[in-house]
Symmetry: D2
Subunit: 299 residues, 4 copies
């Protein structure tokens, strides 16, 4: 299949590579062209403009936030203008529910199709095609995208025909993970100050939850390995902010999300914006009077 792919960051490059591996003709675009050229070495075509990628008739986007997607879709020579009538835009980015709805509407106005399909998983899972993929959009469009989405992840869930629901689900999942980070952070502060060794504590808690997510993040927190970041606190804050905005739009108070937001803002104020979002544990530890000297933040 001939497809375009816009956005070759940590996540996007791994995903695009798996699409190439699956035998597709991938026209890849990145603002910094060198990343597209790297992918070309693995068999992709370099798209010189966003419009070139969109002209294929089926274009993926994997960008950092609403603003980046907006520029790429609504900008001059953007996707909206370059995608043919009947063409399909599959958005993998973690964006706001509101903006996803706007994308759905604008594409529909132009006779184009739109599928929201955010993914769960850290960069190494993108590389190994082990992502969890959640898609929503008009049935025919989702069917068209299905073989491609199955090629990039270990499992595909289809949520129905209303595209923005996939974004609600993605924000919900990230909120749940962030909640676990906050809960583990408070637990380790209590246990640690009371005299329980964090890794011993974690071993027992793992026997309760039996979850790889608790295991992986619990270990990062217990060992304070917040660098290099798997997911930066600044991006974590963005996602919690979007979850809160979705909550406000639906008139759903989310006090736990508010708490996490406040802790992340505090972390950023303390210089942790560029380290892993699990460093929320550092914020909680410092609030408990545990030494800041243990924190190794660059710069």
């Amino acid at each position: 299949m001939k497809i375009g792919f816009v956005g070759l960051g940590q996540m996007g490059s791994g995903i695009a590579r798996n699409l190439v591996k699956a035998g597709h003709e991938v026209h890849a675009y990145n603002r910094t062209a060198s990343r597209a050229e790297e992918l070309a070495a693995d068999g992709a075509q370099v798209a010189r403009t966003i419009a070139d990628a969109a002209a294929t008739g089926l274009v993926f986007t994997m960008l950092s936030d609403d603003h980046a997607v907006e520029q790429c879709v609504f900008g001059e020579d953007g996707i909206l203008a370059a995608l043919p009538r009947g063409g399909l835009h599959v958005s993998l980015s973690t964006i706001s529910v509101d903006f996803s709805r706007r994308l759905a509407e604008e594409h529909a106005k132009r006779g184009q199709e739109y599928v929201a399909s955010p993914v769960f998983g850290r960069p190494q899972f993108a590389e190994s095609a082990q992502l969890l993929v959640v898609a929503a959009g008009p049935e025919r469009a989702v069917q068209k995208a299905r073989p491609l989405l199955e090629a990039i992840g270990r499992k595909l869930f289809v949520l129905g025909s209303d595209a923005p629901l996939a974004n609600v689900l993605k924000l919900s999942g990230n909120f749940l993970i962030a909640s676990m980070l906050e809960a583990l952070s408070e637990t380790f502060a209590l246990a640690g100050k009371s005299g329980i060794e964090p890794l011993k504590c974690l071993e027992i808690l793992n026997n309760i939850f039996q979850s790889p997510v608790y295991e992986i993040y619990g270990k990062i927190i217990a060992e304070e390995r917040f660098e290099p970041p798997g997911f930066k606190m600044l991006l974590g804050l963005k996602d919690v902010r979007l979850a809160l905005a979705a909550g406000e739009a639906a008139a759903v108070p989310m006090p736990l999300a508010s708490l996490i937001r406040d802790h992340m803002i505090s972390g950023i104020a303390r210089g942790m914006g560029e380290i892993d979002w699990s460093a929320i544990a550092r914020v909680v530890a410092e609030d408990a009077g545990l030494g800041t000297q243990k924190l190794k933040v660059k710069g």
Copy 2:
């Protein structure tokens, strides 16, 4: 081995039965004698007083809170008075860290041994000897109790010689589970009001966490099956209160525990004290304007 067992509630009766099955001579006491007689049918001896149970030299207690343990240990003809010098008290109850420390000190003054050994698991796990057991206390005492503790659970963790640390760990674990309840509650409120079917939402989230605890509680919340209670909200509030007290004693702020406490108090104010603690999801849903008519509370 000849042992005493005090407290034959939902949890205690299952545990005591497993001790009988393992071949021990269990002298069982319960304030309401009929429960001891039921156990006698399975091979236990009926202890007519707490002192009789303690006179065996190794006595377990499994009671609802600090107050119940205090009456049973410090009351007239209580364990402290009746347990022989060199005897061992194994406390399975979920009690406060402070009170556990007091027990450790008072037993030590009298030349008696004390092991704190709280357990994780709902009543059916007590029945099937599938509990997770966490023990702490002087090494010799823990060794003495080890075969008994191994007989009642699927796994035993020893946390060291300072008994109250086992209580810190137990309160930490319950706090983590309660945190998950709060997080799932807010997620389902957001997803549900946005138009995602709760069980569909849960299916995807389960693929992220892959945890039986998320699966079990997620299903209860999605289906609103808060009755009969596996663990009453009033008891859940007690545990969160004890975690907060442990945090205050160690100068560890736990804002997520505070949030859960406030939601449980609200739940109790709305008549949910006697239903399952996962009904915190009902509190969160009502705060989002979702109908109270869906809640079926007795009385």
Copy 3:
């Protein structure tokens, strides 16, 4: 002085009338023209377009939010286009800090002046020229606006030359008032459920604080007179949201603002968006299990 005035809502019409009374030639514009005609009966001129109001060279705006101001300033034939070089825009609206900064920059680019001058006070204070006025902007521009700002309030504070600081101050003040509402709400719930009559409770608290703000709002809450609204909860939520956004931009966590936001969202979910923001007391009371039947919400 010849001036333009855009926005004749509850606040704006009172303010514009006082400018007329002070002897100024006020060219008043309102989207719904009838409100401008009412003012004409008191001596104002009717401006038929925003551009007519701006063409005077000194234009006030008093609108509900960022969006309304954006349309009026950046829209076709808006203030930016119609205000002469060297002209002055005085913004009285409660808008975001970010948007106020954008206004400052855009006006400066065109050689126009901009003063941010939000006001404190309910509509009756606008009518009686008893507002508290806070102004910030380039000194020369503030001096030009001074006699006008002094004519509409009981006191004028000048915060310096950086216009958006006046907006920070306004949002801070509204946050403080909302904090008082939350605190009084929890107090009355506790006192009321414990058996203390709210007005008796308030009488004593007034003797501590000796503040007209506590007196006025305390009485509204104690008597549950949330209608007609002096300031709607939906607008209150907007202001708290803007305070939180300002906090996030400055990396300042504001957990009390988060708490208020969550309670207001809950209030809106329960149908209180159009009644007075002090109905946050109803949210708090219902969370304490106090009957919803006492709440009289229209619709």
Copy 4:
């Protein structure tokens, strides 16, 4: 009138002195006898034991917490034993609602009278008889105490015949003041980091609230004068904890009180337990990344 007075701390000594000045025969007791002797220089009698003070038939207590009052009332030769039948105990201390109820019951059992009469005001107000006094208890008992209570404050409020209600009111008032501290702290962090000078900010806010409480505490916070303490954070935390306990007993969630509690625990963890409770502003400022170097904490 012949009266006993137990507890001559910062508050108690000022109050007892005013009772002497009003012409009463005050038999004063303090654990550290030197403080009673100082008062003797002003005309008081030194009571050598608590029993001596209680034997007068009308005894005041002004102590730091439940525990101190418990020792003094229920201890050997305590007030309960020494106060004659028909005698009156007036409790000025800030104690828990539960414990106040227990005092009411135990005195009643012995045919003694009990009035709860907590006071509002810092030590200098105790010295100058400017306290706000809130009394509750059986009408006859309150009438007996009235002239004495009027002699120590600027205003006396009677809350009815149920003594513990006076304690609810006192805890409510302190909660309201603590809420103001939290709100001012977040405001100053936002305004300060945004570039507004704190004292300038305060000047404007004072024009809104027009309250001496905002003026006094606002100035302390803006100038960071947390030493010497007027009211220590450890005592502030005690009062918020008691308010939360009263809320829990009445099934009233108080999330703002929870937030304040968490911030005070954090302050104590950071070494601020012995400085003024308004140092909660330091906690909030540090959470916003504002330098800890500005904080001068002893030790």
